[in-house]
Symmetry: D2
Subunit: 351 residues, 4 copies
């Protein structure tokens, strides 16, 4: 067997631990050799859990002291651009969590950096590696349900996101932090780029949980129209409390296809006829997409080994950011917004 | 529209009320004109509920005072033979609840009586009228899963049966009173008569509920072999407490077919991710087979109108009784028992 | 039993036959005594099928020649207002199919007519009588999933609607003719009136089927915001070809609730492991809502008997029309439209 | 990370490749260092597929030339005893596929050998490591459905087993080769040892597939009674053609619990309303128990590392063999057979 690819993990929190666990327990082909987190307590705990001695407060220190070929970035969105460009400039291959970045300008810089240094850039759209999503996509591409007409994708997450992830100033809010995957999935399965969006959002639970962030919303529905006339919607609820819920429904000219379900395990119990039958629900995202999280990192390592381009690219990440920006404009202006309008504004700013 | 067929209902208890309700609320073609029950309180309550003024303590009184073309018999099993033969001798068409009777001798007398007086005799195997069972049977008959090889049928009922229905002296116990339908269903779907049975039974809940009846059992599994070599089993649990459960699974040479499910309604709720998703269960047999109960009586009235033979005949009822007798012999003697052995004994007794 | 209420059915086509069948086969308390249809062939066929001798080309003739207490109106939408007002003026109770009418003015006249003549007016929102929808609504009202936040309702119908029903000139198009129920259901379950809508529509299949109607669409998604801040969407596909599909999903502050499913029967078959397991789908709307169609007419007759107000009122019908008008404005103008804007315009026109 | 445990795989066929793949792709903690198969073609192909250079025609050669701490035995059942006792005598830890052996004498020798050399012995009952089976077992043990009363377990396999595996002379036939897991699962979940069995078997497909083996059967149902009075059954169909099917249902005093389902993936498609909705079925056992196969080997390596006793022991394997022997006696003698009778005979033979 070839020797494992050495990986430096940047961000030792919840998402970081998912990837660390994949490398430690599920992926013989990769080795976690260095860990970076500015929160030293988290750094220590995660390092000890996975037996990683090389721990650093900054990525710069890791670059100085450790040898690795690749990085996995799981820090907050606003750090992605600088970490990615630095990693690229040092010749490291980059796996970067979603959302890719805060703006199109940042996305462009990241794509440019990895391109000019010939390093790989994969965005963490793990749904592209979920067996159900993959086989569904293949069946749609094979024409099983005909040309897509209507697509709906939802993500409901159980808990309140951290403050930075619900503030439009420091992230792009729930539509970016929770619904990133839906932007990518709908574009993937509709086989077209989104052209126009209209967003409705609401804040039902914020007050009871002491959220005072301006523009905070916990419920969103984005109506979408794609370039190929497919229409659809993305919806998000976070915190939804009842579990982690990610499902897609596509109607094509010849039929319907549904991906995913609420039920988390094929175990059914009934002990009370007034209550009814009970089955487990997916409780969390690492549980729902357990296999996809492993497979996306395996794919990343495999691409490093073979030189292939990752299936979930910087371009894909950029389109999701663009959709979020358009939807955010829509919810602030209460009107439909085209993606080309957002692109024009972005160019105007940077031009 | 033709004038409704007049029906006398014998037995105003739970099963009787199901049929009374069918006539009153769902079947324009039949009219409940007389009610018989020796329990005068039940007689009064049911009579009032369905607006039937002609109420009688005995069937003989009803025959004297009321005009009707048909009877529906829902009294305990040990009364079926005498009521059926009397009704037949008076020219009434007979719908008789399952189990048909206690012995083959009784079954033969009932078939003989209805035959010699040219009255119809239908046994209350409502599963033959359930849309799911019907379409499944049609698909098996059409060869969709090939020649049947293995069949399993179960009935689990929520509550403890009344004393007479759990005592081998006054009924044939749970395998007759609860599992009658499974005997009929397996024979129907296996497309063959049962040839050999072997029964295991157990008593788990009797003591806690103060049941002292000898040979009482609340759990049973009957292994079956049919004349055409199909093998299978019938299982019963009563009281199972958790709901009413009736399902069948058939494996044929080309595939598998499942009929029924625990879930009672396509409503899914999740409010607690530690508990999971919840759907209603079928709570009772009138709920599970609501439509089948209506349709079997409609069929009976339609047969009266057209002179056709009912789909669920005395022969069918007799086969279920024969199976029960063989299984009861098996559980008492702890060995496999052939149905031909029971037939020989029956003939020896009556010969 | 009380004598059956006499009903005149106006419209002997597909929807009319569903109601005729309910009266003939399932509802002892009502009797179909007269039939009206200007299509004499349809009139004859339906009359013969249900044994109704009193057949008329116009409602006026029926009024002259027949005795009845109630009418069921199943003719095209543009006839509802004049038939309802005439029936009311003759003191007949009115069950009118959805959509109620073409405009708010018509709705108002119908409500006014039935009110001033003290006749009942029920709109054919049969989903309010479906056991699944009813129990779900009761559970939401009881607070089981907390305050609603997000609601989605869909109706996909198998076949191309008739020309009048897909033309914005003679009907209000698919959002009215197919999605009427979704307008009513979302308002019912969101426990609030819709306030703002935004519609995206597309035409995928029209060309291949020779549809040349201007503004024709076969796919629609209406984003909704309710007065109580609930957000949601209605979606429609017609013709969807694959079956009849009607489902609702509600997320509340405490959990999620789903109503309905694609699967039409609890029968599962697998005969080919490359294809997978197969279950029946609901093929048509009379199949999916078989019980609801019976129960809504029973309810209507029961209200006539008791004097109670029907559960599905003219007000409910009017709200659905209002929603459709707002959504149609939205799709024509490509912007969100408030219902109050449409109300103002309607008043300006009639003022 | 600790260095991987070195494993020698004996048997490079289908089951062997599943374990080789687990070690190569999914288990960082183990390394496949040697491969044994007397079929040199299979040996070469599997060796090349997994990059294992050390390939041997016999286990003796592997012992001479390779260094490893553990063996995984996937060769036919009749080889298990000699391979296990040799491996144990050389101090190797043993993972042995099911069925454990052909006779109780062989099982006893294997248990004795691993015990006297202090090597671990794990039997390949991977269902004990399946997430669904595990959580279900935990819930039963926690009392969620009360004391078990009735248990049913089935295994239907798609293809005809190889000649040695369907011949009672060289294996113990389908009940051993296909249903081994059911013997273990029912004993595990019934929380008791089986006491009495009665078997019915049939041969439906043999003739068409040219099977001439005496006593061949492709369909079996074993009725069971456990020491704690739980009753139940095991059923098997092989070849069933339609997929790989493994499900369990347990009724306890307080409720019912179901494990597993036919459906292999939460993807639903409907493109034809006459056919209905379609979902993937589990096609093969490596597909159905993909995760369990990985987890059982991880557990084995973890036990080697920690010295813990494997969860699926030689005792467990021996009980399954005992059940099979009793059921085979039953089907040959057409009467119920107690396990104590088989034990007495085994002791008489060996005594």
């Amino acid at each position: 067997m070839p020797s494992p690819i050495r990986v430096c993990l940047i961000g030792a929190g919840r998402a970081g631990q998912v990837h660390a666990n994949s490398l430690a327990e599920h992926i013989p082909g990769g080795e976690l050799v260095a860990l970076v987190d500015q929160n030293l307590e988290v750094l220590k705990a995660t390092g000890e859990r996975f037996g990683v001695a090389a721990r650093f407060a900054t990525f710069e220190q890791a670059l100085e002291s450790s040898e690795f070929e690749a990085v996995i970035i799981t820090t907050p969105t606003f750090t992605h651009k600088s970490l990615t460009t630095l990693a690229a400039s040092e010749g490291k291959h980059i796996f970067c969590e979603k959302p890719m970045a805060l703006s199109l300008v940042e996305c462009d810089e990241m794509i440019e950096a990895s391109g000019s240094h010939s390093t790989l850039l994969q965005i963490g759209f793990m749904r592209r590696f979920d067996p159900e999503f993959q086989s569904a996509a293949a069946r749609i591409e094979a024409g099983e349900i005909g040309r897509p007409m209507l697509i709906k994708s939802l993500t409901h997450g159980p808990g309140l996101p951290p403050p930075w992830a619900r503030d439009l100033e420091t992230s792009n809010g729930m539509l970016a932090e929770v619904n990133s995957h839906d932007w990518d999935t709908t574009r993937w399965l509709a086989q077209s780029n989104p052209a126009r969006v209209y967003a409705e959002v609401a804040n039902f639970k914020g007050a009871a949980r002491g959220v005072k962030t301006p523009h905070f919303y916990d419920t969103a529905l984005v109506s979408m129209r794609f370039e190929n006339d497919v229409i659809g919607c993305i919806s998000g609820v976070c915190p939804c409390d009842y579990g982690y819920d990610a499902r897609v429904e596509v109607v094509g000219e010849r039929g319907i296809l549904q991906i995913g379900e609420l039920r988390g395990q094929a175990v059914v119990v009934c002990t009370n006829r007034d209550q009814g039958i009970v089955s487990p629900v997916y409780r969390t995202w690492p549980e729902r997409f357990a296999e996809a999280y492993i497979r996306e990192v395996k794919h990343f390592l495999e691409c490093i080994r073979t030189g292939a381009q990752p299936r979930s690219s910087g371009e894909d990440g950029r389109w999701a950011v663009l959709g979020v920006l358009a939807a955010t404009t829509s919810l602030l202006k209460q009107r439909p917004v085209t993606l080309s309008e957002v692109l024009r504004q972005s160019r105007a700013v940077t031009g």
